[in-house]
């Protein structure tokens, strides 16, 4: 499937035509321009091969022939030009009195900061007064800066159209692009996706990030070939092209950027060429002249042919993801459906649940109460629901035995549900008389006060068994430790992974993570819980099968490795298609 898509994405195959052959520059022996597969139609892939290694001194740039049609989408209407002009003038008028003050305050604050730092490191006694002055200037600068920002906000609000179109930016892009195309219609394509690319003075240099090349994409027929994706080019500041560029802010406090990044247009055909240059070297680095620019010794250009970025409607790289996602979803939905028909699906015994009966039995023997907590979370948490389900079962056993069940609560909603469940359990067992509503009560909603009160109950009433089910936070330790010191049998069950260690060391039995859900599904027989548990089991079975296959292959490999060393690699290549995240 993936291969098919890649083939479909292949756009053009060009024969190399060296237009300016120079002996010193390596000549690419084969080049191609393709549409990048699996992308949003914003990039072209360029691919070329040298005969051997090109060497460190070679600089490669991909350039595109950008036509003036591209300017159309940035052209301002007469009204818009007028609006921009007026907004600019008004902004300049209003900013005029502020800006000189602002620049002065900023400069002074910067200078004072330097003086302050010097004074502080010397231990100069003037430091305090300098600090005072510095803060004064800093505050003045902040205040003026805020006024300026407000004005800019006003300006932007006036020039922005719904949908994000900002006239100011569009006008600027138009100017930049016009100037750039006046200079030359061959524009360097920037941003080599997936590869650490930097653009300096219109030249791309790239260094593959770790594994990025491997991950990015491969040639459809020859997987070892890697292409470079080019999707954007930069329009240069007109001032930079004419040499008059300065970094100074203009009359409306705007510093014009050096470049503006533009996207290749979808569906438009671009002619590309490759510029190969040999640079003067300085050791392992390119030699740079006094203007900090590298020196080109030789150069040559090669036509690559044309190509149009085309949109793709399915990302083939995610095919395995789709298989897993749909597969799991279907399994879970079917399992829930089956559980609706047959609520007696098999779930293994949960050994913690057997300990429940033993603990209750002991409480009865000793004539002491049983304490049950549903956790500290609200009813929206899965483990709280599970705790309530288990509470029903515990209440039923206790109703049989005639001991007291004490349930302090932190959440008022959980409280009402807990009362309901316990009452029902007592009625079911034919003991409505033994139900004491006062024993299931609300304590307080704050974490540590709830804990303190519950601990006090444990110390005072000395229950023979404590149950901690549901979700717990840091208070788990306090509860379980106090319980252990009273000598009660303690059974805990939570999916709060960080609290589990404390329960395991202080309780006699602990339901770990998913065991709590399983126990709840086991007792409630609710199709949703049961089915989803079964569905997850099937997912786990799949993982286990994969692990077993891989282990067997490892064993086989170890035995027959000498006769056929490639066997593991082959099987892995096959499995990789399924599990490799691309």
């Amino acid at each position: 499937m993936r291969k098919m898509l890649l083939i479909a994405g292949l756009a053009a195959l060009a024969v190399v035509v060296p237009t300016l052959a120079a002996a010193e520059v390596p000549v690419p022996i084969e080049t191609e321009v393709i549409d990048v597969p699996n992308d949003d139609g914003s990039a072209l892939g360029v691919l070329w091969f040298w005969d051997g290694d090109a060497g460190l001194d070679i600089r490669v740039t991909v350039e595109a022939d950008v036509t003036r049609d591209e300017l159309d989408s940035y052209q301002l209407t007469v009204d818009e030009t007028d609006l921009l002009q007026r907004a600019r003038e008004e902004l300049a008028d209003r900013l005029g009195p502020i800006l000189p003050d602002l620049y002065e305050a900023t400069a002074q604050a910067a200078e004072l900061q330097l003086r302050l730092r010097a004074a502080e490191s010397e231990g100069n006694p003037d430091a305090a007064s300098i600090r005072q002055e510095y803060w004064q200037q800093q505050r003045r600068a902040t205040r003026l800066g805020r006024q300026r920002d407000k004005l800019w906000e006003w300006f932007e609000g006036r020039l922005r159209r719904p949908g994000g179109d900002y006239i100011f930016e569009r006008a600027q892009t138009f100017d930049y692009l016009t100037a750039t195309l006046d200079h030359s219609n061959w524009v360097p394509l920037a941003e080599v996706s997936g590869i650490g690319a930097t653009l300096e003075e219109g030249v791309i240099t790239w260094s593959p990030k770790s594994e990025a090349v491997e991950r990015f994409g491969h040639h459809p027929y020859e997987p070892d070939k890697v292409y470079y994706a080019v999707g954007t080019y930069r329009a240069l500041n007109p001032g930079m092209l004419s040499g008059s560029y300065t970094n100074e802010p203009d009359e409306i406090d705007y510093t014009a950027p050096r470049t503006i990044t533009l996207n290749l247009e979808q569906g438009r055909t671009y002619n590309l060429r490759l510029v190969v240059e040999r640079m003067q070297m300085d050791g392992d680095e390119w030699y740079t002249d006094e203007n900090d620019r590298p020196v080109v010794l030789e150069s040559a250009t090669f036509d690559l042919g044309g190509g149009a970025p085309r949109v793709n409607f399915f990302n083939g790289a995610y095919f395995n993801n789709l298989i897993f996602a749909v597969g799991f979803a279907v399994i879970i939905l079917i399992a829930i459906m089956l559980a609706r028909r047959n609520p007696n699906m098999f779930i293994r015994r949960i050994s913690g649940l057997e300990a429940v009966d033993e603990a209750i039995g002991r409480a009865t023997e000793m004539g002491k109460p049983v304490l049950y907590l549903c956790g500290l979370d609200s009813l929206a948490t899965l483990s709280t629901l599970a705790a309530i389900n288990i509470l029903g079962r515990v209440a039923r056993r206790i109703a049989d035995y005639d001991s007291d069940l004490v349930v302090p609560n932190r959440d008022p909603v959980v409280l009402t549900v807990a009362q309901e469940v316990v009452r029902e359990a007592y009625i079911d067992q034919g003991r409505p008389d033994a139900y004491k509503e006062d024993n299931i009560f609300f304590v307080t909603d704050d974490q540590f006060s709830f804990t303190a009160t519950t601990c006090a109950i444990m110390m005072r009433e000395r229950p023979a068994a404590n149950f901690f089910m549901g979700y717990y936070y840091a208070e788990s330790l306090l509860l379980a430790e106090t319980g252990a010191s009273t000598g009660a049998i303690q059974i805990a069950g939570t999916d709060a992974l960080h609290q589990l260690p404390f329960f395991i060391t202080t309780c006699d039995y602990t339901l770990i993570g998913e065991e709590l859900y399983a126990a709840s599904a086991y007792l409630s027989r609710e199709p949703m819980l049961l089915g989803s548990l079964k569905g997850q089991d099937l997912g786990k079975a799949l993982i286990m099968v994969l692990i077993i296959i891989q282990t067997l292959l490892f064993a086989i490999h170890a035995v027959i490795a000498l006769s056929n060393p490639g066997i593991l690699q082959q099987s892995w290549d096959w499995l990789k298609l399924l599990v490799e995240p691309l």
Partner: protein, 235 residues
């Protein structure tokens, strides 16, 4: 009306869920915009959802005061603290007259002052109290009751020693020379590293794979309208 109360949210969840799921496999620009817009909306919604928590807490304390429930005096403290903290940040006035910086955003503004000298110490202390309780539980409750608890305690103690400088110190002197190479007799640091990188990573990976399956199960249940707890009770 009942349709809007019951079925409509399920339809909304289904449509949103399926669309956001399917768009993952479609690489077009429009599909990306769709996700961006959803994500932006969700961000604003999250903001309001967080406000819900704040409002219900204030509501709770207000009620406590109104009906003079036990401990309502403390609720006054909460409300007054809230009002002061909120106003110091929201009021667009200059604070210089009481010696603060002009705006709350500055580090020496009144809002950040309260943050630094009240919020930070109280929140930081809240959980540090547990250090005392852990030490006392070490004496009173951490018992090797079963094989599992023993394994846990032993691993825990190795990590506790191996992950602080004292672990390197107490074992650095104890070496045995085998074939000319010095081997540490109690290489706490190495054992700790191994425990964390191999058995711990294996167990965590097993747990993670299970947790991911249950996350997917819940997501599927929500999308197909089987799981409805997020809707709350009522009709």
């Amino acid at each position: 009306m009942l349709f809007f109360k019951r079925q409509w949210p399920i339809i909304v969840a289904f449509v949103c869920g399926i669309v956001m799921w399917a768009r993952y496999y479609i690489p077009t620009e429009q599909s990306q915009t769709l996700q961006d817009e959803f994500v932006r909306w969700a961000r604003i919604l999250f903001g309001f959802a967080a406000m819900l928590g704040i409002l219900s807490l204030l509501h709770h304390h207000w009620n406590k005061i109104k009906f003079k429930r036990p401990g309502y005096g403390f609720s006054w403290i909460t409300l007054v603290a809230f009002v002061i903290m909120a106003l110091t940040g929201l009021l667009p006035i200059s604070w210089q007259w009481i010696g603060f910086a002009e705006s709350f955003r500055d580090l020496d503004g009144p809002h950040m002052y309260l943050f630094e000298y009240m919020f930070v110490p109280m929140q930081a202390t809240m959980f540090s109290v547990l250090a005392f309780f852990i030490a006392s539980a070490g004496f009173r409750a951490f018992r090797a009751r079963s094989v599992e608890a023993t394994a846990l305690l032993v691993a825990g103690c190795i990590i506790m020693i191996g992950r602080v400088p004292v672990g390197d110190l107490i074992t650095s002197g104890w070496t045995a020379s085998i074939g000319g190479t010095d081997y540490s007799i109690l290489p706490f640091a190495q054992v700790t590293d191994w425990l964390l990188n191999i058995p711990n990573a294996a167990a965590q990976r097993g747990i993670i794979l299970g947790v991911i399956l249950s996350q997917i199960a819940i997501a599927v249940r929500i999308i197909f309208g089987i799981e409805r707890t997020y809707m709350g009770g009522g009709d």
